[in-house]
């Protein structure tokens, strides 16, 4: 998928996220909106997956370690055709598999996540298996920045470097906010790039809300032979809706009807701008 289409997809995914959280009456708005562009680029440009055959052995693997941002994952998987979009309306309903953190009951989900600090170890195991079997499989996992205080992340990081997993790409959604406030005031993480580099990753920093920049950085993997890849994606929590952006209160706030209408209006405007921009490009 080309950059303009990817940009439009991000707007559409954000619309789905807002609507599905409003309808379910629960969800993690801020983190889902911050990682939307990353998931968009992964599923529409980077990864080899087959929605008609979700367990196709040759597929690339994605582990959603920041499991609470499940609405972004559901929006992308539904759009890709892993399951009918109507399933999104069952989010939070009794008996639905579309629960508040991903499970393998949902087609396209590789691993049940939600407790933080688990995804990376599982991804390391998958990447080791791919290396042992001589497969071209690439493994991706997305972690939140608040998640990085979990000690298991650093256990897993040591093993990723030890086993020279250059087929593993770890993305950090660095939106600088967690539920209680700024990460640096809750438990300081910086200097994050240096810390990951010291653990043996080849690190790149990128604007994680810029699909073109993301496409570019993913295309550069492996960054260094024999080293696991780490993409420090600088993002804005709540990206795409002015009054949700960079506000800790929106971590899992559910929009009122008026807030939903205002947010969707902003996204409509963004899509209109997108049309104008690419119309101009086309006439040049």
């Amino acid at each position: 998928m080309q950059i303009p289409e990817l940009e439009r997809k991000s707007i559409q995914y954000r619309r789905t996220i807002l609507s599905s959280i409003a309808q379910a009456g629960a969800g993690h708005m801020g983190g889902s909106l911050s990682c939307t562009d990353i998931l968009n680029v992964l599923y529409n440009r980077v990864m080899q997956v087959d929605p008609a055959n979700p367990t196709w052995p040759g597929r690339d693997r994605y582990i959603h370690s920041k499991g609470h941002s499940v609405e972004a994952l559901y929006a992308v998987l539904a759009d890709k055709g892993f399951f009918p979009a109507e399933k999104l309306a069952t989010m939070g309903c009794a008996g639905s598999h579309w629960v508040g953190h991903p499970t393998r009951k949902v087609p396209g989900v590789e691993q049940n996540t939600g407790a933080l600090g688990h995804g990376l170890s599982v991804a390391v195991g998958m990447a080791i298996a791919a290396k042992q079997d001589g497969l071209a499989t690439r493994v991706y996992t997305l972690m939140g920045d608040g998640e990085l205080t979990e000690g298991s992340i650093w256990e897993a990081s040591m093993s990723a470097a030890f086993y020279k997993l250059d087929n593993l790409t770890v993305i950090v959604d660095r939106n600088t906010l967690q539920i209680s406030g700024r990460t640096e005031s809750v438990m300081a993480l910086e200097p994050l790039a240096e810390r990951f580099a010291a653990f043996g990753y080849a690190v790149r920093t990128v604007n994680g809300n810029d699909v073109a920049a993301l496409v570019d950085v993913f295309a550069q993997t492996p960054f260094a032979p024999g080293k696991p890849n780490l993409i420090l994606a600088r993002t804005t929590k709540g990206k795409g809706v002015s009054f949700i952006e960079d506000a800790a209160d929106w971590h899992h706030h559910v929009p009122t009807a008026a807030e939903l209408a205002a947010a969707l209006a902003e996204l409509d405007q963004a899509e209109q701008h997108w049309q104008e921009r690419y119309a101009t490009l086309a006439t040049r």
Partner: protein, 326 residues
């Protein structure tokens, strides 16, 4: 009665069996947390280095990596001391293995009070209680070398997450080599209709010796090796409970939440209520010594179990507070 013939530590049989199987199956991996020595897997590491994934002393990562390997189609045995595996790695066992339905074989070595005088940090007296409360995790605790070998072979193709609990004491042979073994099916070792010992793991051998002590006193005891806590052989337990006057459960675990609790809840709810005593490690600051000394201290000995069984048959009630739950 013939004296039981001496055998090897179950952990040694586990390691030997696994090495043998792994030589014919490159897809079989062990994941270890600096635990190859205690798991008797040094030979495995030397002969099949490509089939070892070492993660260092990092039990959370051990379990998570094992789940990822299993998800990718590997046959994975994650081996670590039971005390650390099932406490440090507990959330990974719950979510990455059981909830995510990744068919990892978790192997808790030197379980219970195998480490003896190393103290409570190294004891696992909680593992059966917590793991029984997780859905989708089968639990197997072999009693002797035969059960261990059969359990490892069965684990190879077991379709669900599995916890295999092993000790390091040299065990005596309880079963003939043609005894049928199925995960979830208890194995009768002795038959008698006065009292029954329902035992698991390394305590089965002691229950058998105790049955011999009771036989000398004219008391006929059944001994059942309940090597699987999940699936749990309800039919065998009920059949036994219906024909004896008293049941003594025996386990190398806290008296809370293990085999005894499982048996008691089944019998009470089924309305089958012979006299019952749960023998294990009571709820107190654990007295320290070798495994055998700890066992003897808490009445897990041929004489101690015989006295408990005889007391039950005589209608001696449990002294309130004697399980340490106060």
């Amino acid at each position: 009665m013939q004296p039981l013939q001496p055998g090897s530590p179950n952990q040694q049989i586990f390691a030997d069996t696994l090495l043998e199987l792994a030589k014919h199956d490159r897809n079989l991996l062990i994941v270890t947390s600096d635990s190859r020595g205690s798991g008797r897997l040094v030979a495995f590491g030397k002969q099949l280095p490509a089939q070892v994934v070492e993660v260092g002393i990092a039990e959370q990562n051990l379990v998570g990596v094992a789940a990822g390997l299993a998800a990718a189609g590997k046959c994975v045995f994650a081996v670590s001391p039971a005390c650390f595996l099932t406490a440090r790695g507990l959330e990974q066992i719950k979510n990455d293995v059981a909830y995510s339905d990744q068919p990892v074989k978790l192997v808790g070595i030197s379980a219970g009070v195998s480490y003896g005088a190393l103290g409570t940090t190294h004891h696992s007296l909680h593992d059966l209680a917590v793991l029984q409360a997780f859905n989708n995790l089968d639990i197997v605790i072999p009693a002797d070398n035969f059960e261990t070998r059969a359990a490892v072979e069965a684990a190879l193709t077991h379709p669900r997450p599995l916890y295999l609990r092993l000790g390091k004491k040299a065990m005596r042979h309880l079963h003939a080599s043609d005894t049928p073994f199925t995960i979830g099916k208890a194995i009768p070792v002795r038959r008698g209709d006065d009292v029954a010992f329902l035992a698991t793991g390394e305590t089965v051998e002691i229950a058998v010796q105790s049955a011999d002590v009771l036989a000398d006193r004219g008391i006929a005891a059944s001994v059942l090796s309940i090597h699987s806590l999940r699936p749990f052989d309800e039919a065998a337990v009920l059949e036994t409970a219906r024909r004896v006057q008293a049941i003594v459960t025996v386990e190398e675990h806290s008296v809370h939440g293990g085999l005894g609790s499982r048996v008691a809840t089944l019998l009470m709810q089924a309305g089958v209520t012979p006299a019952l005593r749960i023998v294990g490690i009571p709820d107190e600051y654990t007295w320290t010594g070798s495994q055998q000394e700890i066992f003897e201290h808490y009445g897990i000995s041929p004489a101690g179990l015989a006295a408990t069984a005889a007391g039950l048959l005589e209608g001696r009630p449990l002294a309130v507070g004697s399980t340490g739950a106060h």
